[in-house]
């Protein structure tokens, strides 16, 4: 389950609008592009509503270039909301790692992929005091588990995005929590 040497890596981040599905993808993209010299392509799907409807990012990481911009055999799928699961279910392969936020997704087919179901919302609330960092905890969990990018690349990208202040501190802590529960 270690992906650090893989030449081509695919990840889907799914949920509903407002959960940071796109911004999480941008952070992964910046981490891999700017701190590891990898090539990243990301396409996003979302509704016209700002919040509440299905949203996902397809993130593809290659060495020099990524040919096609949609995930065809995802290595990892993150599911942050129950509305997203039915929409991404058909993409799950036998060895796809499916990371699920237990607090938001109640029904999951345990025979589809390799499931990691964790109460990310609860953890976020208890450890950080804010549910807004759920995506950051989940990202750090995935990075620590799979090593598809280095932990410090993710930390650097987040630090670069939120240079200082309370939000930066919250996100930094969220990453630490995510790494520790993996």
């Amino acid at each position: 389950m270690i992906y650090s040497n893989k030449d081509h890596f695919e990840m889907i981040i799914s949920g509903v609008g407002g959960q940071g599905n796109v911004s999480s993808g941008i952070i992964i993209g910046e981490a891999a592009s700017c701190y590891e010299n990898k090539f990243v392509t990301m396409t996003c799907t979302y509704g016209t509503e700002a919040r509440g409807t299905f949203a996902k990012s397809d993130i593809l990481i290659g060495k020099d270039f990524v040919d096609f911009y949609e995930c065809q055999s995802p290595d990892v799928i993150l599911v942050l909301h129950k509305k997203a699961y039915p929409k991404i279910k058909d993409k799950i392969l036998e060895d796809t790692i499916v990371v699920v936020n237990k607090n938001e997704v109640d029904q999951v087919n345990m025979n589809l992929g390799e499931i990691f179901s964790l109460p990310f919302s609860e953890i976020a609330f208890q450890e950080i005091g804010s549910k807004q960092v759920v995506n950051m905890i989940a990202l750090a969990f995935i990075v620590e588990k799979t090593k598809f990018i280095r932990n410090e690349s993710l930390v650097n990208a987040v630090q670069n995005k939120y240079a200082s202040g309370q939000i930066a501190e919250l996100n930094r802590k969220a990453l630490e929590v995510g790494f520790s529960i993996a």
Binding site: I26, E30, S33, F39, T41, M42, T43, F68, Y69
Partner: protein, 381 residues
Amino acid sequence: MICPKEGRYFLQGNIAVGEAAIRSGAMFFAGYPITPSSEIAEHASIHLPIAGGTFIQMEDEISSLAAVIGASMTGVKAYTATSGPGMSLMSEHIGLACMVEAPCVIINVQRAGPSTGLATKPAQGDFFQFRYGTHGDHMIIALSPASVQECFDLTIQAFNFAERFRCPVFLALDGIIGKMYETVNIPKRNEIKVVNRKKAIASKVDYQPYQPDEHLVPPFVPFGSPLITRANGSGHGIDGYPCDDAKNHEQLVRRLINKIDRYKKEISLFKEYYTHDAEVLIVSYGCSTRPAIAAMKEARKRGIKVGILQLQTLWPFPEELIASITSKAKLILVPELSLGQLKSEIIKYCHQKPVIGINKLGGVSIQPEDILTVLFREIEK
């Protein structure tokens, strides 16, 4: 700027266009935001004023292009961004920009039409609108990127062509490439080749604003300078005053076409993938290039010699290139998010070889499997 210095970034296609525009020296944007192009206007609204330029949100797309032409005639590099519905409104002024020879860049991030069609959903259905969107005989340049890196590079190129040929240049993005994020290498400022329009050197006595140089392009004088210049959408003589003389009109329109046509080879930008031994040639542009590359690699794994010609310049159409590159192929496939606009142009120049379109509507991407299915079906025939 979002990318303050050279280096590696992870950018959206639309943002890469904006970053390149500022590096090209663009100082004016007028537009009316429309998805999937809105980030270009948003970027300009934030970053142009910081760079010393001007951003105006206009009441519609008709006035947007009018403002861009006006700004251009004062000597400023100007651009606008829109999508199909806005392009339709701009049609009249595309002709005006051609006629008054106002260098400008018009970015159309194509979405599914006709009319308002599918908001934010990608398409490649404006292929002929770029070429024939305005009335009357004219020639146009249209460039189309297939990656975010190409969004950056071809924006620089679009401004350079606009300045060199004193004409409007289209940047033909689509909703997929415009909204896509990708790794981009931003070069150093001094490594970016920036072309500026040729300025007229003349005395007040003998200056004629539309006297062409040896390349058929009139050297430029900005509005407000001591040399008086004019801009006229009606037929005009070299002095810029209206003139409906038959011979003059013939000369003027032929020159507007020939100033671009003469340099067609230099304008024609393209990429080739494995065309040297290709028995099946895929001709593509924009987003459709990406599933084509994936399909080509899969087909080659199975021993089928597939190659790709990716057109970065759509117009002027590279007839000679199509004629020579298709001469060795047995089958030509044309994937596009339209019902076969590029295909119909290729058919004209490909020696009556079989040309099969892979066409999709509905604002969804062509999949590599869509291309492979057609490929396997055709070679089994």
